[in-house]
Amino acid sequence: MEQLINYILQLADSNLILTQRNAAWCGHGPILEQDIAITNITLDLIGQSRNFYQYAAKLINESTDTKVTEDSLAYLRTEREFKNLLLTEQENGDWAQTIVRQFFYSVYQYFLYEKMQHSRDEQLAGIAAKSLKEVTYHVTWSGEWVIRLGDGTAESKERIEKAIIELWPYTGEMFLPEAYEISMVSAGIAPDITLLKNEWYKKVTDIFEEATISLPKDGFMQTGGKNGVHTEKLGYILSDLQYLQRTYPNATW
């Protein structure tokens, strides 16, 4: 049970942290339509993460003596307890960096949920099938932006290439399973992420080709996020995200 809970928390945390990052664009997007687009995508991400947290909370409450809620899981866990992918905690940077981060993550989510909708775990299958419809739009939108920036002006190309170099070392972690993921694969609950790599790579290559940019060499990959070992950036994100509930416990809107 603990493995399953860790697995669900990892899915929830990655979405939540990217939500918190993207939300900083609200009111600051380059033009109104794109401000609305990134915040709408972010709304989908937080909705998906709520579904995962609610499920995790139910399992935790059923299997242990503790009493948690989706809110306490989001607002009251510490940095070392968060299992989000390192990619999701990376800085917004400029628009190009936000786009590349979203594109890498959305393509990953797409192939992950496509398999997960056939999970033996009915609740995960249901969340995945629903999320997949939303993520399909995210892949199209972020992919179009990759093309627009890569095949745009000299400056936009330079910026997106810089963003790709910055974020590339955080992509390997998506396809390297932790112990709890491996046990969920053998239980027929989680898709085998090592098998997603080729599809992800192909989709990214196709879009990059259209964008007239090249894929970096594989290189050294950062890992640890899924086990609670994060870059220094997560602490700052959590202090922003959690300060209200920690300062005024149980405060409501």
Binding site: E33, A37, L43, K133
Partner: protein, 160 residues
């Protein structure tokens, strides 16, 4: 007893028809296809709904509106549950709902099996010559289009 129950469930569906979607008030929640089931057991009314989008902020408001409508009509023991599967699709929107939506100025969604590349018809002047401005519109469920004939921008309820 069965007959009596049937009549009551029917009455519940009738009441739900009066609950509007908070974001598109010309549509009832039945037009939208988000009410999946209505159950009546041991005096408890259970309404089962499904969210349109995972992050749809209207879901809490919709649950509350359903509750209030039922309370208003004397029901006390009310349970509102949410299910995720099968995932909501715009194919569940009623034909009547699509007509109302178009009159309201929002182009209705295509059926998911419709693979044609045609853009939605302008709800203002019925021109088929329209173009996509942004895949994301004023709410998660809409995209923004513009008519090349009358030049009016309009929302399109995305196929989902």
């Amino acid at each position: 007893m069965v007959v009596e129950n049937d009549i009551t469930i029917d009455a519940l569906w009738k009441l739900l028809e009066q609950v509007p979607d908070p974001e598109i008030p010309v549509l009832s929640i039945l037009d939208l296809g988000i009410v999946r089931d209505v159950k009546l057991q041991d005096g408890q009314v259970e309404i089962i709904i499904t969210p349109t989008y995972s992050g749809c902020p209207a879901m809490d408001a919709i649950s509350m509106d359903i509750r209030l409508k039922l309370i208003e009509h004397g029901y006390k023991n009310i349970k509102i549950s949410s299910v995720l599967s099968p995932a909501w699709t715009t194919d569940w929107m009623t034909e009547e709902g699509k007509i109302k939506l178009n009159k309201y100025g929002i182009a209705p969604p295509k059926m998911s099996g419709d693979l044609s590349n045609s853009t939605p018809v302008c709800p203002q002047c019925n021109s088929a010559d329209t173009k996509l401005l942004s895949q994301f519109g004023s709410t998660a469920c809409k995209a923004l289009y513009q008519c090349n004939d009358c030049k009016e921008p309009f929302d399109y309820f995305k196929c989902h």
